[in-house]
């Protein structure tokens, strides 16, 4: 039997979503720096507003440059479509606000990005949406936390900053048994290292700011929908299965089938919440995506070398990276993420908080900043920055200690990264 001749990942990362226009022949994706689009007629305008015809109206809703990025991400993830947003956090909020109302409940891994933790813990409750956090390595915990009003199970492919590997097939089954979708933050793995849809996830979100961009010059996010979740059968998602008065009574599931979530997120969420991505930033992220396969290969190679160095270093208590054989999820990572479990690692330094501070201050090559996924190596102390809002108990539950340092391993020469860390580790112990 012949195999389908789809373009492969490396090709899609360069081409998906874009065909040079016949008028100019521009090979690069043009930056459509415009707020709005000329209507052909009043009938055309009315039909666009009423979703009768596809097309662009206003760049808060859609933009041709942004649409290329959206289609490219959907292609790379194997989804039915995507909606790009101003940031990864905007993407999470867009999905949640589309899926549930006041009274909704989320079951989330406790090991998530600090911004996500804050949104779930403090902001969403103000709108009547509660979250129960559970240990990402405890599938029974997910099951036990699901309530009748649960509308979403959430986690990260690789926990932040504990680098726990989410057991997607098992957690997906638990979510689906309860009639709710599994949404996964796949920022750390990118579509190159892992396609969560293949393991049962229904919705994927990315902070495109990170590895997908890779250059650290543009903030962006996106939601990709697999189109696999049966909203009608679940019966728990009236925003998708019942008429929406905000759009002339449209029933998104009936009219758009597998693309219902994407269409509702755009028609309502982008229109009303307005967290749109600028065409310039979409262009920047697209430049990053073009080299994603090459960069991720190098990121992973370097991460394995740096993790091994830290694991052997006398100044280090422990290293969190699934490439280390003693990591609790080493085998699971090989099963789910065989190309490599990302380039984020964390380690606990001997000497407590002071030693951590000295390490951060003594690195010369690595950059101390609040980001990950840059082509350059980055370091940060989560307890005092990204996760500072978390209580001591929540920090402990998420596996974050005062002496934990998170590293985003870049694509510099691995020997140079290791030399920089070796010097900083020695300095950290001198007191």
């Amino acid at each position: 039997m012949v195999a389908p001749k789809f373009y492969n990942f490396d090709t899609l990362s360069l081409h998906a979503g874009h065909t040079p226009d016949a008028e100019t022949g521009s090979r690069a994706v043009p930056i459509y720096q415009t707020t709005s689009y000329m209507f052909e007629s009043t009938d055309h305008a009315a039909s666009l507003y009423n979703l009768e015809q596809p097309g662009h109206i206003y760049s808060r809703l859609s933009n041709p440059t942004v649409a290329v990025l959206e289609e490219r991400m959907a292609a790379l993830e194997g989804g039915v479509g995507a909606v790009a947003t101003a940031s990864g956090m905007a993407a999470i909020f867009l999905a949640i606000a589309t899926l549930m109302d006041k009274g909704g409940h989320i079951v989330s891994s406790g090991s998530v990005y600090g911004g996500t933790h804050n949104l779930f813990s403090y902001t969403l409750p103000r709108f009547g949406i509660e979250t129960t956090f559970v240990n990402p390595r405890d599938p029974d915990g997910f099951k036990a936390a699901i309530r009748p009003e649960t509308r979403l199970v959430f986690g990260e492919t690789l926990g932040n900053p504990g680098i726990e590997v989410m057991n997607l097939p098992v957690i997906a089954e638990i979510a689906h048994e309860a009639g709710v979708p599994l949404m996964i933050d796949s920022t750390f793995t990118t579509p190159y290292l892992m396609n969560p849809f293949k393991f049962g996830a229904d919705i994927v979100m990315h902070s495109l700011t990170k590895f997908c961009g890779g250059h650290g010059i543009a903030i962006a996010g996106c939601i990709v929908d697999s189109g696999a979740f049966d909203w009608e059968a679940s019966g728990k998602f009236p925003t998708l299965t019942e008429p929406y008065d905000g759009y002339a009574g449209i029933d998104f599931a009936e009219e758009f089938g597998p693309q219902a979530l994407c269409m509702r997120m755009r028609a309502e969420g982008m229109k009303d919440f307005g967290a749109c991505l600028s065409p310039m930033n979409a262009f920047h992220i697209l430049q990053g995506l073009e080299t994603l396969p090459l960069r991720m290969t190098r990121h992973v190679e370097n991460a394995i070398k740096v993790a091994a160095f830290l694991d052997a270093a006398d100044e280090v208590e422990s290293v969190n990276h699934p490439s280390i054989p003693s990591h609790p999820d080493h085998a699971l990572a090989q099963q789910l993420i065989p190309k490599g479990a990302g380039a984020i690692l964390s380690f606990r330094i001997k000497g407590g908080r002071e030693a951590g501070r000295r390490f951060i201050e003594r690195v010369e090559l690595a950059s101390h900043l609040a980001n990950v996924g840059d082509a350059k190596t980055l370091v940060i102390h989560p307890g005092s920055t990204t996760h500072q809002q978390m209580s001591a108990e929540a920090l402990e539950a998420a596996g974050i200690g005062e002496n934990l340092i998170r590293v985003s391993v870049g694509i510099e020469d691995a020997g140079d990264i290791i030399a920089d860390f070796k010097t900083a580790l020695r300095a950290s112990q001198r007191g």
Partner: protein, 266 residues
Amino acid sequence: MQLEMNGKHVHWATGGMVSEDPDAPVLVLVHGAGMDGTIWQLQSRYLAHRGVKVMALDLPGHGASDGPVLENISDMADWVIAVLAAADVERAVIAGHSMGALIALQTAASAPALFTAVGLLGCAAEMPVHPDLIKAAEAGGALAPELVVDWGFGAPSHKGGHPQPGLWAMGAGVRLLMNADPGVLARDLVACDVYKDALTALAQITVPVHLISGDQDKMTPVKAAVPMLQAGAALTQTVLPKTGHMIMVERPREVAKMLLDLARTA
């Protein structure tokens, strides 16, 4: 929209509006193998908001209509006629895509008084299906849907450029087929494979028949329509450039306008 027929739930999409004008034209849309009425999503709202009563049917066992899946094109045509009777439709235009085009042909031939025009999208006099594809569909999984989508879309769609911002046609096509119940695609492919009465049906139809083809269609190539053009006195054809078999997705605006013109002949 829905009704109960012989104890079975029958569902169709309306495009979000049903004209209250008793003289509004009715356009019946019939999807292809393994799909459902949402494949017309880029046309149904456009038509409905221009005074057309859209019935984008889910065939039995597809989408939200109860099963079981019908075994052959003739039974599917009889089912469409029964649905229209149950819905009190006395005059309509019928259009179908791929397997749905065969159903449209057979339906119009079986109930000539019911239809004023016929639209065929991606249609050939015969639609033989490779046994290996049927076997793959019977086995389930992604292979058969991926092969159908690979062959179904023209070269431009393999890179993208979906007319609806943010959507990925190839992924959506695979997903629509994967979301069908097990065995549905395989049975539909068999129904296409064994149906040999298209030319006979076409010869019986006296109302206008319009065939819309894609010049990159690998499944029902343009040349495969030649026997139909010879057999159907009232048959006209439009060939759309850089277009494969999934014409409604690849050329949504052109198809919507052609269907509107067709519906207004009712």
